[in-house]
């Protein structure tokens, strides 16, 4: 009997060993909160440890008494139970003492909270907007704006290739902040509620459509810091990480001027003559970043939730409506306005969806150029 079970367990334990021996970064010691790298995050960590040890101390005393009775006051050792069933003095004591301990915890906690709620303006102000399922960053002083998407390959997620070191914690564009400056984040959302969490700064603020929440940090140590979305926001909730890179002021200034140059070049593209192929190529990339999560790579959507684009009447024959949907979104549905994309990106992605999956052959095959979007944006008379 025992042998039979042992046999089964042996098989299981070999499987378990193989899994554990897997060369992916084993981390049995990822047990506690990160201390983080800012003054606030250190204070929060100290607070966490303080409460933790207070709880441990209370637990040791309380359970010691309990385990002692379980050991010493069994029926065998103590056949006749005592008869006491109240004691006013001790009951008052164990009401008052916990109350005092709580006050001792509340004082440092309240102090730290007041510090976190400091609302002085920052040296650098970044608006953070949550989208399904990516983050947009707007640098308010410098007029820089970009999206950060997960850059982990789908093949890694579906176990077709080995996972990289920063699996699910890497993005295509990092948020740069200068060290030693007070950075204020103005956090909001475009569709559903998200939450912007950066453990190393001890910042977690919900990103709520129609609200702007703020949080601030001052980072003194250059480095790359990784965080995550922490409010369920739909199917790719687990796939919209946050990566912040803190750099020296001069590196930051250089990055700002590069980003500004790039924005200028992008604006020039609006007036360029575009061929269908150029638009389709560019549109495919835009589609992969913005549309594929719902409408799928094959353009068929997900039945019952996200409509397909392949063979859709609008994508085949109604260019005006097509532009309108991307610019305005669809009332009451998950399809939001994408008017925050550039004219070039919008024209490219519309053209791509009108050309791909046989749509060009089945419909009018009309393309959309950036100027069409510029025209759409003109005030209507």
């Amino acid at each position: 009997m025992l042998l039979k079970y042992f046999g089964k367990f042996q098989y299981l334990s070999i499987a378990a060993l193989m899994l554990i021996a897997n060369p992916i970064k084993a981390d049995w010691f990822a047990l506690n909160m990160t201390r983080g790298i800012t003054d606030i995050s250190n204070e929060v960590f100290e607070l966490h440890m303080l409460i933790f040890w207070i709880c441990v101390a209370i637990g040791v005393v309380v359970f010691a008494v309990m385990f002692y009775s379980m050991y010493a006051h069994t029926k065998k050792k103590n056949p006749v139970a005592a008869t006491f069933h109240e004691n006013t003095k001790i009951e008052i004591a164990w009401t008052i003492i916990p109350f005092l301990i709580l006050i001792a915890m509340a004082i440092p906690a309240s102090k730290t909270l007041v510090k976190i709620y400091d609302d002085e303006a920052g040296d650098v102000n970044i608006q953070v907007t949550g989208y399904q399922w990516k983050w947009q960053y707007n640098y308010l002083e410098d007029d820089i704006s970009f999206f950060a998407n997960l850059s982990t390959d789908a093949d890694e997620i579906y176990n077709l290739v080995p996972k990289g070191e920063n699996y699910l914690q890497e993005v295509d564009e990092m948020v740069l902040i200068p060290v030693g400056k007070k950075v204020r984040f103005l956090i909001t959302a475009n569709d559903v509620i998200h939450s912007w969490w950066m453990p190393d700064f001890a910042i977690k603020q919900d990103a709520i459509p129609g609200f702007v929440n703020t949080a601030w940090t001052k980072v003194d140590v250059p480095g790359i810091y990784r965080g995550k979305c922490t409010e369920l926001c739909g199917k790719n909730h687990g796939f919209m990480p946050i990566v912040v890179k803190a750099v020296e002021q001069n590196e930051y200034d250089q990055w700002v001027s590069e980003k500004k140059d790039m924005a200028m070049k992008l604006a020039e593209l609006t007036t360029k003559e575009w061929t269908t192929q150029e638009l389709v190529d560019r549109g495919e990339d835009v589609y992969a970043l913005n549309c594929v999560a719902c409408h799928q790579t094959n353009g068929e959507g997900i039945q019952g939730i996200f409509p397909g684009l392949a063979g859709s009447d609008i994508a085949l024959n109604d260019k005006e409506k097509h532009i309108e949907i991307l610019m305005e979104g669809v009332q009451g549905a998950a399809m939001n306005s994408f008017s925050y994309l550039s004219e070039v990106e919008l024209a490219a992605v519309i053209t791509y969806t009108r050309q791909a999956w046989g749509n060009a052959e089945n419909g009018d095959g009309e393309i959309v150029i950036p100027k069409d979007i510029v025209d759409y944006k003109q005030p209507k008379i």
């Binding site: 990822a30 047990l31 709620y117 579906y158 977690k204 709520i208 997900i302």
Partner: protein, 527 residues
């Protein structure tokens, strides 16, 4: 005169009706209690199977078994089914069986409503579960269904979800009214309020909480329905609405709701510890006052679930302090249980094992709850696995262990047979180990930074997730043993005495085992 009455008496048959209609038409509190208990057990297994899907997917990083869409449906249904289908109906079932017997009443005060409140429940859960097969899938927005993810961005099945929640709410409100009316009007002469068994007290308080907050939940889902189908904008920022309003309404329901799921457990555990310590419960009146304070405080702490939504400083401070206060009455209860055991004459039958595990592990959940109350630290804990570990510690080895303890403790009274003590202890130890292996590592995963409701995770969380999954399957499989033990006990076994347990006190132990179909048709004499 008396002869006439006797005659009339003889015309009635006093056993249950035969066949299926017995269960459909029954107005007998014991039958309805049994229905509730079996129903909740079925839901516990379905919700548990969903938990197995969740844990299997999280066994290793990467997507292996399900897609993120389906994963989100699983976490949503797991939560809803365990709360509204598992824990709550189990407590209502226990109330049905025990409250009338404990206060010396012949039945619940409103027996037909009792039948109705049970029989609408299967329909509610049929509707909820059928959404799995609808176009677009089941609700996928978490059991907390925050707008606008649950309104504008929800799958079409959300309307069925709303209907189902309405039915569950109606059932709970009816059940709660029945409990209040029974306790207030049908106590045998001599059973004063401060002489009621603690389980009765705990349910009286729970019932008031239910009556207070279930309509609030109904209001929240009705507003969602209006937003989805009738063009209102309660929670839609683009139409001038307020998504945070949803969370205030939801948690005004939700926080009392978590005490609805733990107060009856306090009652049960008090009885069991008293019986197996063979010593009168320490501090009866402070136990009652502690439960009342916990219930009242539960209405002024809801925003501690919302520390990160951007509340003003004054609100954060108020809700932090108010939440910390709850530790005082909760501490009093734990101290009282331990003082009851102290210098008692203790034996460890299965119900006592579960009750002792309850005291220790519920206290663990209380500690992590206190940590979560500290707002600045909560910024790091919020919506991570630390929270998952916390509420599973208070719900699984808390609420669910108390229900299992109650089943072992009272089942000899219900069916007249003793359960198999050896198997009962085996079930306890497997569950105890399973629960801790599952949920203790989740503290680590959460503190190290893994958010909840993630179908996939970064590599540093891999090891403890794997351990947690192994524990979950151990716990899950152990519950099939529980099913086996219960069925075996119902079918036969050593006959139970009327008192069943040496140290048991209370009116339910004065009637025969199994309890006759009708008990206390004339009120018992109480000294």
């Amino acid at each position: 005169m008396s002869a006439v009455i006797e005659n009339h008496h003889d015309d009635h048959h006093h056993g249950p009706a035969k066949g299926l209609t017995r269960w459909l038409y029954t107005t007998n509190h014991k039958d309805i209690g049994t229905l509730y208990l079996w129903f909740s057990f079925a839901m516990f297994l379905i919700g548990g199977a969903m938990a197995m899907v969740i844990r299997a997917e999280l066994f290793q990083p990467g997507m292996q078994i399900v897609e993120p869409e389906f994963y989100n449906q699983m976490i949503t249904l797991h939560g809803l089914i365990m709360i509204f289908g598992g824990v709550m109906p189990a407590f209502v079932g226990l109330a049905n069986w025990l409250v009338p017997m404990m206060i010396g009443a012949p039945d619940m005060a409103l027996p037909r409503m009792n039948n109705l409140s049970f029989w609408i429940l299967p329909f509610a859960f049929f509707i909820l579960l059928s959404s799995l097969f609808m176009e677009g899938g089941a609700p996928n927005f978490g059991w907390t269904f925050y707008a606008p993810l649950s309104t504008t961005y929800a799958p079409p099945s959300v309307t069925f979800f709303i209907f189902s929640v309405h039915i569950m709410g109606a059932s709970s409100i009816m059940g709660a009214i029945n409990v209040v009316v029974t306790i207030m009007n049908m106590r045998a002469p001599g059973v004063g309020l401060m002489k009621m068994p603690l389980f009765v007290w705990s349910w009286l308080i729970t019932a008031y909480l239910l009556i207070a907050v279930m309509p609030v939940l109904a209001g929240a889902v009705t507003m969602m329905l209006m937003d989805i189908h009738f063009g209102t904008s309660f929670f839609n920022a683009a139409g001038g609405g307020d998504p945070v309003l949803f969370q205030h309404i939801f948690w005004f329901f939700g926080h009392p709701e978590v005490y609805i799921m733990i107060l009856p457990a306090f009652g049960i555990v008090s009885h069991i510890i008293e019986t197996f310590s063979r010593k009168q419960l320490f501090g009866y009146s402070s136990m009652v006052w502690a439960m009342l304070s916990i219930a009242i405080l539960s209405f002024v702490v809801w925003a501690h679930h919302m520390f990160t939504v951007g509340l003003p400083l004054a609100a954060e401070l108020f809700f932090m302090w108010a939440t910390m206060l709850i530790a005082v009455p909760t501490g009093v209860k734990v101290f009282n249980w331990i003082a009851t055991m102290f210098r008692g004459s203790i034996t460890f039958e299965t119900p006592m094992l579960f009750a002792c595990a309850f005291v220790v592990l519920f206290t663990f959940g209380g500690f992590s709850g206190l940590m979560l109350a500290i707002t600045p630290a909560d910024f790091q804990y919020h919506d991570t696995y630390f929270v998952v570990a916390h509420f599973h510690y208070v719900l699984v080895p808390g609420a669910i262990f108390s229900i299992m303890a109650a089943v072992y403790y009272w089942i000899p009274k219900w069916c007249g047979n003793m359960y198999d003590e050896r198997l009962g202890k085996l079930h306890f130890w497997l569950s105890f180990i399973g629960v801790n292996v599952t949920f203790f590592p989740q503290h680590f995963i959460g503190l190290a930074g893994m958010p909840r409701r993630y179908p996939d995770y970064a590599l540093q969380f891999a090891d403890w997730n794997m351990v947690s999954t192994v524990g979950a399957f151990l716990f899950g499989v152990s519950q099939l043993l529980f099913l086996f033990i219960v069925v075996k006990t119902v079918m036969g076994g050593k006959k139970a005495t009327d008192q069943v347990w040496e140290g048991a006190t209370g009116l339910e132990w004065t009637v025969a085992s199994p309890a006759p179909y009708h008990t206390f048709t004339t009120p018992p004499k109480i000294d």
